[in-house]
């Protein structure tokens, strides 16, 4: 299960994600769609920490992969010096109007400063981190990723591309890794290319190898970042077929895609992102037939 809470991401003064809340359950297929520049890729890349969120938390199977975000923990806010200062002479009962108003004010104005909040506050944050933290390397072993531009290692053969991480990261024996890799290569229909170098493959073949390479780590979730956008039109179908097979095999995945027909067919949920905000999160039937927001309506009119 992937849980994204209050995710913000800024590049300098540019706010790319503005408060995303999103869950992906085991076995679920979620497609993220939206206009270009809406933050889709950034959201996806945050899930395996290729981007570091500015605020917010991401939990994978109950483990926290980002630093804890104090603004998401009311008890931590209540332990802060800032809260104590603002609450002077007010109703101190948790849940009271005063309490919630002050917490809201602190969140809105980004008032918490680590150096000023006192020991209890910092201790609570550290404790949350110690009890739940999972580092980026462990996270990435559980979450596979397929890129728009494949990013195969050009100096390795197809098979070596697939063996490298299982052998060096998971420390599998060559025999075990090779057995798995060959099974996967067969499943994407590229057994005859195992000794070829990536430069000799077509775009569609490269992407199928990239998918097999990600699967070789036996991830719990797969992330796809526009997997067909860099392909010639006649190769899109072969890659989508491979992804469809994975869907049928029950692998959890999050896809950023511009293939609306495909999204409609395979997704359990469609997430529509616009200007860094998650505008809609609905099953494909409902989203495509009756989108709630005007933004989504306008977007669908353009792409369908």
């Amino acid at each position: 299960m992937i849980e994204i809470r209050g995710l913000y991401k800024s590049f300098g003064s540019l706010q790319v994600l503005r408060g995303i809340d999103l869950n992906v359950k085991d076995g679920e297929v979620v497609c993220i769609i939206g206009p270009s520049g809406s933050g889709k890729s950034t959201l996806l890349r945050s899930i395996n920490l290729l981007e570091t969120p500015t605020f917010g938390e991401i939990w994978i199977d109950g483990r926290l992969i980002t630093p804890p975000d104090p603004y998401l923990h009311f008890d931590v806010i209540r332990a802060s010096g800032t809260y104590a200062a603002l609450m002077q002479g007010k109703d101190k009962n948790p849940g009271s109007d005063d309490d919630l108003a002050v917490i809201n004010d602190i969140k809105k104005r980004d008032l918490l400063k680590e150096s000023h909040e006192g020991r209890t506050y910092n201790k609570m944050l550290r404790q949350i981190e110690q009890e739940n933290h999972m580092d980026a390397y462990a996270t990435r072993q559980r979450i596979g990723m397929v890129f728009q531009h494949f990013n195969l290692f050009p100096h390795m053969t197809v098979l070596d591309n697939m063996l490298y991480a299982p052998m060096h990261v998971r420390k599998l024996s060559r025999e075990a890794a090779e057995k798995k890799a060959l099974e996967l290569l067969a499943s994407v229909g590229l057994m005859d290319k195992k000794d070829a170098y990536p430069a000799t493959l077509s775009g569609g073949q490269k992407q199928r190898v990239a998918i097999a390479r990600a699967l070789a780590m036996e991830p719990e979730f797969l992330l796809f970042d526009e997997p067909t956008s860099a392909l010639d039109p006649e190769m899109v179908k072969e890659v989508l077929e491979v992804i469809k097979n994975l869907v049928h095999a029950g692998i959890s995945m999050v896809l950023v895609t511009h293939e609306m027909g495909f999204a409609r067919e395979v997704a359990d949920r469609i997430c529509f992102l616009d200007e860094g905000v998650l505008m809609e999160d609905a099953p494909p039937d409902i989203f495509f037939s009756s989108p709630k927001s005007d933004r989504a309506k306008a977007f669908l009119e353009k792409v369908l």
């Binding site: 990435r140 990013n151 170098y197």
Partner: protein, 221 residues
């Protein structure tokens, strides 16, 4: 003017052992230079400012001081200050290696910088840690783009090693000089040496091209 190349015949064994010295210095300096260039280029790309300054300073020294002065410095100067003595072979090899490292680290840095960030991301997404990523994914690709520089460095090293004659090592040039002293003839020995170096360099260039083709086989369609 009459040429008489037969005067060289008695000196051929000396030329032979001098060639061995030249090649020994060149090859050991090149290998040591490559070995030094790897950590040096790493210092240049790691986001640690003091390391970058240190590496830049190192490179600027070897660029800024004439090679002959560097050779004299390490052979005559340094021992007086530190008490550390090198024989001519060690001094020559060391200074040439440090020089090569300065130049090669620059092109290695360029080669690393030229690698698509998708390669880093793909490795990171598979859970690969930084040292393994550099060693197995990034460096092998960077080395390819550095291969022409390595061949060039090999060639200029081969020619620059004639400088070690100035600290008394008997290389090819030194044998030529002793032929000149003994026979009072200058054209034949130096012509012989010129042709010799020229052919050696041509041979190296050819080998370099073959090597490059071999390494680039993964890029061919």
């Amino acid at each position: 003017m009459q040429f008489n190349f037969s005067i060289l015949i008695p000196y051929l064994p000396q030329f032979g052992s001098a060639l061995l010295v030249t090649l020994q210095v060149t090859v050991s300096a090149l290998l040591l230079g490559i070995l030094l260039a790897i950590p040096l280029s790493l210092c240049k790309i790691l986001p640690v400012k003091p390391l970058q300054w240190l590496a830049a300073f190192y490179t600027s020294i070897f660029r800024g001081v004439p090679l002959m002065v560097q050779v004299f410095m390490i052979y005559f100067g340094i021992p007086l200050v530190t008490g550390l003595r090198f024989n001519a072979f060690q001094a020559g090899t060391l200074i040439f290696a440090m020089n090569s490292a300065a130049y090669l680290s620059e092109s290695l840095r360029g080669g690393i910088k030229a690698i698509d960030k998708g390669q880093y991301e793909a490795a990171a997404a598979l859970g690969v840690r930084y040292p393994g990523m550099m060693k197995d994914i990034i460096f092998p690709q960077a080395i390819k783009s550095v291969l022409p520089s390595i061949v060039n460095e090999f060639i200029s090293l081969l020619k620059n090693t004639t400088l070690i004659a100035s600290i008394g090592l008997v290389d090819i040039l030194r044998v030529g000089q002793s032929v000149q002293t003994a026979t009072y003839r200058a054209f034949e020995p130096f012509f012989f040496i010129s042709v010799f170096y020229y052919m050696l360099v041509m041979l190296l260039s050819l080998l370099g091209k073959l090597l490059e083709r071999q390494v680039n086989k993964s890029d061919r369609n």
